[in-house]
C-alpha cells in the first residue's frame, strides 16, 4: 500500500514535469488578455458582455471608429460627407475590402448590418442605433414586407447614404456598427434570430479572425491576412482568457497573461507597482456610483430643498478617504459634482465653475431645511405639513460599498440634520423592479437608491433620458422621476447643435439647472487601472478607448529568456 502510494505520486510528478513542457506558450507574439469571461456571443447584435465586445471589435470593423481623443475617424470607410440639412451622411468605402473568407465587402453588407438590427423581431440591445433612421417605423413594423428602409440607401458598391429623421449631433455615433457579411449571416426578414446559431462562429472584416473558441475558457484569434490594413497589425495572435480575481495577479506575474484591463482593487495596483516586470496605467472611469433621489410628489425627497440639504450633509471626501483609499494611500476614486461622464468634452472647467457643487456643509444643510419649513419635532425628527422627514433607502445586502456606506448615511441623514434613514434590503433585480420595471406602482415605496452607471458615450446627451419627463413610466429610463419641462426642452435643443465647441455653452446651462434640481448625488467616480506586462508597448488606455481599439499601436516584446 505504501509502496503503491509512493509509486503513484512519483509517476504523477514525472508526468506533470513532462507535460508542463508540452503545453507551454508557443508564439512570442501572442497577447493574452485576462477577463471575467466572455459570454461566447461574438455577435454585436446579441452579446451582453463587454469582454465579448473586445473580441467583436477585433473580428469586425465598422465604417468609422473612435480614436483615443473620442473623435470618430475613418475605418472601413475612407471618408464621409454630411448633407446641407445635416440629415444625410454619405460614406465611401475603401477599395478592395474583403471579409476574412475572401469574399468582397460592399455597401450591401453595410445596409444588411443595419437591417438586421431593424428587423421586426430583433430582440437585442442595438435598436437604439437604428431607431432614428428615416423610415424605421415602416420597416420594422410587424408584418412589414418592405425589403429596404427609406433611410438606408445603397448608391453603388462602394457608396452608402444614411438619412435620419431629425438633425442630431449624436447621429454619427450610430453608424459605427461592425459590418456583417450578408452571405454568411443569412436570414429571412422577421427571423433574424436564425443568425444566433453563428454567435460562436463569427466572420467579419476586422484585423483578426477567429482561431479557436473554448466555452467559458478562452477565445483565440489570429491576424486576418485579408484585412485592408494588415501590415499595420504587429501582434500575430490575441487570446482573451477567463481568469479569476483570486489568481489573476499570479497569472500576470508568471507571464501566463499579459494584460488585465479595468482593474479596480488597490492591492493589485500596489503589487503591480512593486513588480519590476509590470506597469500600471490609470485612467478615470466614464461613469460613477450614485444615489438617486425620488422626485415624485409622494416621496420624502420630493422638494429640491430636501435633496439639496441631503447632498450638503453628505461627506463626499470622507467617503473617498475611508472607502476608496488604500492603506498605501492609493486613491481609487474621486468625487464628482455633475452626473455625466467626466471624460466628456463638455466636462470643462467652465462648466464646473457654473454648476452647484455640494461640498460638505452641515450648517447650510440644516439652514436650507429650516428655511423650507421643516421644523424639528419633539423626537428630533423634522416634519412639515404633518409629514416626517423619513427617508426610505432601497439597498443591496452584502454589497462591498453599501456595507460601509449605510452606517455613515444613517448618521449624516439621521441625527446630523434631524431626519431618519430607513433601509430596505433587497437584491439587485428587486431594486430594478422598484425603480424601473414596475416604477409607477412602486413610487411610494422608496426615496433613494444606490447604483452605478457607466456611460459608453462621451456625449452629454446620453444622460438626457435619465432626466426626461417622458421616461417616467414603467421600464422608463428616468429612475429619479424628475419632471422639469424646461430641462426637457433644453436637452432637445442642445442635441441639435452639431459642433461640439458650440454645444458646450448649452450644456453649461443644462447642468446648472440639473445640479440645482439635484436628483442625483454622485458618490464616487472610480479610477481604473490596466495592469500589464512591461513587454506590452504602445498601450494608452482610456475609459472609452480600451486596448483592442488601439491594436494597431500595440507591440509585444519577446520574452527575455525561455523559462
Amino acid at each position: 500500500m505504501k509502496r503503491t502510494a509512493i509509486l503513484l505520486v512519483s509517476i504523477m510528478l514525472v508526468a506533470s514535469m513532462i507535460l508542463s513542457g508540452c503545453f507551454a506558450k508557443q508564439q512570442p507574439q501572442t497577447l493574452t488578455v485576462g477577463c471575467e469571461g466572455t459570454d461566447g456571443i461574438f455577435n454585436q447584435n446579441y452579446t451582453n458582455s463587454s469582454y465579448s465586445t473586445w473580441a467583436i471589435n477585433l473580428l469586425f470593423e465598422g465604417l468609422i471608429m473612435l480614436d483615443k481623443t473620442g473623435t470618430y475617424v475613418p475605418a472601413a470607410a475612407k471618408e464621409w460627407k454630411v448633407s446641407e440639412d445635416g440629415l444625410t451622411y454619405t460614406f465611401t468605402l475603401r477599395d478592395n475590402l474583403q471579409f476574412s473568407d475572401g469574399k468582397p465587402l460592399t455597401a450591401e453588407d453595410v445596409e444588411y448590418t443595419y437591417l438586421m438590427v431593424a428587423d421586426p423581431k430583433y430582440d437585442g440591445m442595438l435598436v437604439d442605433n437604428v431607431v432614428d433612421f428615416k423610415g424605421f417605423a415602416e420597416y420594422s413594423a410587424e408584418g412589414s414586407t418592405l425589403t429596404a428602409m427609406e433611410g438606408i440607401k445603397v448608391i453603388d458598391k462602394k457608396t452608402i447614404a444614411f438619412t435620419f429623421a431629425e438633425k442630431k449631433r449624436t447621429n454619427l455615433a450610430k453608424l459605427g456598427l461592425g459590418i456583417m457579411p450578408k452571405h454568411y449571416y443569412v436570414f429571412e426578414k422577421g427571423n433574424v434570430a436564425a443568425t444566433a446559431s453563428l454567435n460562436d462562429k463569427p466572420l467579419g472584416a476586422g484585423p483578426y479572425m477567429i482561431e479557436k473558441y473554448e466555452p467559458n475558457q478562452y477565445i483565440s484569434m489570429v491576424k486576418n491576412p485579408k484585412y485592408w490594413d494588415a501590415k499595420a497589425i504587429k501582434i500575430d495572435r490575441v487570446v482573451i482568457k477567463s481568469v479569476d480575481s483570486a489568481t489573476e495577479m499570479d497569472e500576470l506575474q508568471t507571464g501566463k497573461i499579459d494584460l488585465i484591463p479595468g482593474s479596480v482593487e488597490a492591492d493589485k495596483r500596489d503589487t503591480a507597482r512593486n513588480d519590476a516586470n509590470l506597469a500600471v496605467y490609470e485612467f478615470p472611469r466614464s461613469g460613477f456610483g450614485y444615489i438617486n433621489f425620488n422626485c415624485s410628489e409622494v416621496a420624502a425627497t420630493h422638494e429640491k430643498e430636501v435633496r439639496q440639504a441631503l447632498s450638503y450633509a453628505f461627506q463626499g471626501e470622507a467617503v473617498i478617504d475611508t472607502l476608496f483609499t488604500s492603506e498605501t494611500g492609493t486613491k481609487l476614486a474621486k468625487t464628482q459634482s455633475v452626473p455625466f461622464s467626466q471624460v466628456s468634452w463638455a466636462f470643462t472647467d467652465e462648466l464646473l465653475k457654473e454648476v452647484t457643487s455640494y461640498t460638505y456643509d452641515l450648517a447650510k444643510a440644516n439652514k436650507i431645511l429650516d428655511d423650507a419649513g421643516w421644523a424639528k419635532g419633539a423626537d428630533g425628527i423634522r416634519e412639515k405639513n404633518g409629514k416626517k422627514l423619513i427617508i426610505k433607502m432601497a439597498a443591496m445586502p452584502e454589497h462591498p460599498i453599501l456595507d460601509s456606506l449605510v452606517p455613515l448615511l444613517q448618521k449624516w441623514w439621521g441625527e446630523d440634520i434631524g431626519a431618519k434613514l430607513e433601509v430596505e434590503y433587497m437584491e439587485f433585480n428587486a431594486i430594478l423592479d422598484y425603480i424601473s420595471t414596475n416604477a409607477d406602482t412602486n413610487e411610494d415605496k422608496w426615496d433613494c437608491f444606490f447604483l452605478a452607471n457607466t456611460f459608453p458615450s462621451a456625449d452629454p446627451d446620453s444622460v438626457r433620458t435619465s432626466y426626461a419627463s417622458d421616461e417616467i413610466k414603467n421600464n422608463g429610463q428616468n429612475t429619479n422621476r424628475l419632471k422639469n419641462e424646461e430641462l426637457d426642452a433644453m436637452f432637445k435643443e442642445a442635441v441639435k447643435i452639431i459642433d461640439q465647441e458650440a454645444a458646450k455653452k448649452a450644456y453649461i446651462d443644462i447642468f446648472k439647472l440639473l445640479t440645482e434640481e439635484n436628483p442625483t448625488l454622485v458618490v464616487y467616480a472610480n479610477v481604473y487601472a490596466d495592469l500589464a506586462s512591461k513587454r506590452l508597448k504602445g498601450h494608452e488606455p482610456g475609459p472609452l478607448f480600451s486596448w483592442e481599439l488601439n491594436i494597431k499601436n500595440l507591440t509585444l516584446e519577446p520574452v527575455a529568456d525561455a523559462k
Binding site: 500500500m1 504523477m12 510528478l13 508526468a15 506533470s16 514535469m17 507535460l19 508542463s20 508540452c22 503545453f23 506558450k25 508557443q26 501572442t30 493574452t32 459570454d39 461566447g40 456571443i41 446579441y46 451582453n48 423581431k121 430582440d123 440591445m125 435598436v127 437604439d128 431607431v131 410587424e142 434570430a193 444566433a196 454567435n199 482561431e211 479557436k212 473554448e214 466555452p215 467559458n216 475558457q217 478562452y218 483565440s220 495572435r237 487570446v239 482568457k241 481568469v243 479569476d244 483570486a246 489568481t247 499570479d250 497569472e251 508568471t254 501566463k256 437584491e427 439587485f428 433585480n429 430594478l432 423592479d433 424601473s436 420595471t437 452607471n453 433620458t465 421600464n475 429610463q477 429612475t479
Partner: protein
C-alpha cells in the same frame, strides 16, 4: 421484485409533476423577470420590449405558461436560453459533461482511497494509522473547499509551477489530436479533482470504518476467525461484503451529485462546468435553463434513490420486496 420496481416507477410520475409545478411557481414568483434582467437599464423601444415579453410568453398567466412549458418539454423541446441564445439542451449538454468528467474522476479516486483506508482503520482501530486518518478526515470535512483549492493553486501552481493555475485546457494552445487534448484536460484536472476527492474521502472513510466496525463485532466474523481462516479472507470475503451494504445505498445517492457542479470550485479553477452557468442563470432569471436543469437534478435524485433501494435489495438477501 419486478412488481415493486414497476410500482416505484409509476409513483415517480406524480412526484415529478408536482416538483415541476412547485419549481415553476417558485421561479416565477421571484421578483424580476428575464427581460428586465436581460435589459438591465439599457434603452429599448417600448414596442421591442413588449415583443420580447411576448416572444417568451411572459405576458400570459403563470399557469398557462406552466402548461405550455410542460407540453413542450414532454415533446422534447426544453426551450431556449435568452442569455446564451442557444437551445437549453445544447447548453446543458456541453457544460454538464465538463462537470461530470471532473466529478467522476474525483468520485472513483475517492472510493478507491476510502474503501481500503476505511477497512484498515476499522481493523486496526485506534492505531496510529487510524488516528492519523481520523484527524485527516476531520480536516477534510471542516476545511472550506475554496480555501483548500486556493492553497493547492498557490502551492502547486504558483510556487512549484507543476500544475496549471486554472482552466480545463491550456489557453491558446491548439491540440494536434483528441489524445493530446485528453492529456491536457487530465493535467488540468489534477488540482480540482484532488479538492473534490479530499472532501469525499473524508466522509467516505468514516462511513466505511463505522460500517466495518459494526460488522467486525458480529459473531460470524468471530466464527470465521476461529475456523482458522486467513485474516485477509475474513476481512474481505466475509466482513467487507456485509459492510459494503450501506455504501451501496450511498452510491445511488451520489449519482445526482455527479452531474452537478460545485459553483465555488468551478469559479476559482475556472472549470467550465454547469455550476457556474446555473448560478449565473439564477441572477439573470433564465427560466428555461433553470427549469430544465433543476428538473433534471430532481429526476436524477429520485432515480438515484430508487437505484439505491434496488441495489440494497440485490446485495442484501434479507430484503425482499
Amino acid at each position: 421484485m419486478a412488481k415493486y420496481l414497476l410500482k416505484r416507477l409509476l409513483n415517480l410520475i406524480p412526484v415529478i409533476l408536482i416538483i415541476s409545478l412547485i419549481l415553476f411557481m417558485i421561479l416565477k414568483l421571484m421578483p424580476g423577470d428575464t427581460v428586465s434582467a436581460y435589459l438591465g437599464q439599457r434603452k429599448v423601444t417600448e414596442e421591442q420590449r413588449q415583443m420580447m415579453i411576448q416572444n417568451l410568453g411572459l405576458d400570459q398567466p403563470i399557469f398557462v405558461q406552466y402548461v405550455k412549458w410542460l407540453w413542450q418539454s414532454l415533446q422534447g423541446n426544453l426551450g431556449e436560453s435568452l442569455i446564451h441564445r442557444k437551445p437549453v439542451v445544447e447548453i446543458m449538454g456541453s457544460f454538464i459533461w465538463n462537470s461530470f468528467m471532473l466529478n467522476i474522476v474525483a468520485f472513483i479516486a475517492a472510493f478507491a482511497v476510502s474503501i481500503p483506508v476505511g477497512i484498515k482503520s476499522a481493523v486496526k482501530k485506534y492505531s496510529l494509522y487510524d488516528n492519523a486518518w481520523n484527524v485527516f478526515s476531520l480536516m477534510g470535512i471542516s476545511l472550506p473547499s475554496f480555501f483548500f483549492g486556493l492553497l493547492l493553486i498557490f502551492g502547486f501552481g504558483v510556487f512549484l509551477q507543476i500544475f496549471p493555475l486554472n482552466g480545463m485546457v491550456t489557453a491558446g494552445y491548439l491540440h494536434a489530436n483528441g489524445f493530446e487534448r485528453a492529456l491536457d484536460i487530465l493535467w488540468h484536472m489534477v488540482l480540482p479533482a484532488t479538492v473534490l476527492m479530499i472532501i469525499d474521502v473524508a466522509s467516505l472513510t468514516k462511513y466505511m470504518r463505522n460500517s466495518m466496525l459494526e460488522v467486525i463485532k458480529q459473531d460470524y466474523v468471530r466464527t470465521a476467525k476461529a475456523k482458522g481462516l486467513k485474516d485477509k479472507v475474513v476481512i474481505y470475503r466475509h466482513a467487507f461484503r456485509n459492510a459494503m451494504l450501506p455504501l451501496v445505498t450511498l452510491l445511488g445517492l451520489y449519482i445526482p451529485g455527479l452531474f452537478s457542479g460545485a459553483v465555488i470550485l468551478e469559479t476559482i479553477f475556472i472549470w467550465p462546468g454547469i455550476g457556474r452557468v446555473l448560478f449565473e442563470a439564477i441572477t439573470r432569471r433564465d427560466y428555461m435553463l433553470l427549469m430544465a436543469s433543476n428538473m433534471m437534478f430532481a429526476v436524477l435524485l429520485l432515480i438515484g434513490n430508487l437505484l439505491a433501494d434496488i441495489g440494497y435489495a440485490m446485495v442484501d438477501p434479507r430484503i425482499k420486496y
